[in-house]
Point group: C2
Chain length 219, copies 2
């Protein structure tokens, strides 16, 4: 795996020591997240929208209603910026100025194109499903033709990207370490809880393996 | 508290039954979140960046280095779109098509202006600090003049906004309820864990009240 070339678009300007440009780190953040924030232009103004996604190689797959504004815009090849951020902790320093958060963040820049053909649409919808629910696809009935028609899938090719990783204890000013105030990190734990049965669950149906495997895992 | 007027910008296009336009709901989502995704234009292209924030009335306060690109852009009054999304659960339906997530999401549109004057800057920096760390500001030394100078604070006036709330069990197609597959919700729990001491903590300094109050709370 290599590095993304640094250009005016993806260059990290602030806290450059936290910047990463390698594909491994960027892919790792994308793969760990559940929601992507997708920014685009609409009538010359910026918009941002949370979306479910899945990744394969250098392509991020997004989906929505086939006539949805965001899908029409993405398939037009307009420039798009996507950020995925995972918060890992609140960093309580000895001053407000040095207080911050620990996080893993990836920002990608690219342009989209419509996924066409029923078999490729199905294949890429499974990538999106597997991202949130690994193994669930095989437990469910096959998508109906009408469902596939109603869904638009867009592949966003990653043209450039960067990541920013903030971790560890507070980084206080040297002269602040003598202040007798507590400092440290409050971890943020994002965890999947215990599965809650649908009230209309059929009698005798138990938790499926894909869901059982997710219970209690960190995301 | 009233409603935001519905216009072409803030109108929710998909899953309209989940849309909310009342200030209470929008403020509630903003107040519950830890990170805002701020979208803006740079050289005619969309960018999105995660930022810490705080809210007072109809103003969202953002901060950064006083010479940071994002602060320069925000203070120029350029149009900005901000989204805050909280994920509450993975919704495992009886089909991939009906599977989704439960979430609370708020999107605001506005323009920024620079916060000027040392006392107003301090007041609004405290709003941002209180959002993440209620009560911490009073436990810390006063910000230095140099720190205040290095920090740019921008007030983003909420010109229009909407929220989208998705909750409850899966909403399957009528003909799918007879399929003997498990369906339900996997809750996503975002919780602050046990505070971890800074390795350079002075001997005898114990957890401060503001941090102790946050331990174990849900965010």
């Amino acid at each position: 795996m290599g590095d993304y070339a640094i250009n005016e678009e993806n260059k990290v300007r602030r806290l450059r020591e936290k910047a990463r440009y390698d594909q491994d780190t960027v892919h790792g953040v994308l793969d760990a997240g559940l929601v992507a924030h997708v920014a685009f232009l609409q009538d010359g103004r910026p918009f941002v929208m949370p979306m479910i996604y899945g990744r394969e190689g250098e392509t991020l797959y997004l989906h929505g209603g086939s006539k949805a504004r965001i899908i029409k815009l993405l398939e037009s090849g307009a420039p798009v910026c996507v950020n995925v951020t995972l918060l890992d902790g609140l960093v309580a320093a000895r001053s407000a100025f040095s207080s911050s958060m620990n996080y893993r963040s990836a920002t990608i820049f690219g342009t989209g194109s419509l996924v066409e053909g029923e078999s490729e649409k199905l294949r890429t919808l499974k990538i999106i499903s597997d991202h949130t629910f690994p193994g669930r696809w095989e437990e469910l009935r096959a998508p109906l033709d009408s469902e596939i028609k109603q869904t638009g899938v867009v592949g966003l090719h990653i043209e450039s990207a960067s990541a920013k990783i903030s971790e560890g204890p507070p980084d206080d000013e040297d002269f602040d370490y003598d202040i007798p105030v507590w400092a440290g990190v409050l971890p943020i734990v994002n965890q999947l809880g215990t599965a809650e049965d649908d009230p209309r669950l059929l009698t005798g149906v138990s938790l499926s393996p894909s869901i059982a495997a997710l219970e209690g895992t960190r995301r």
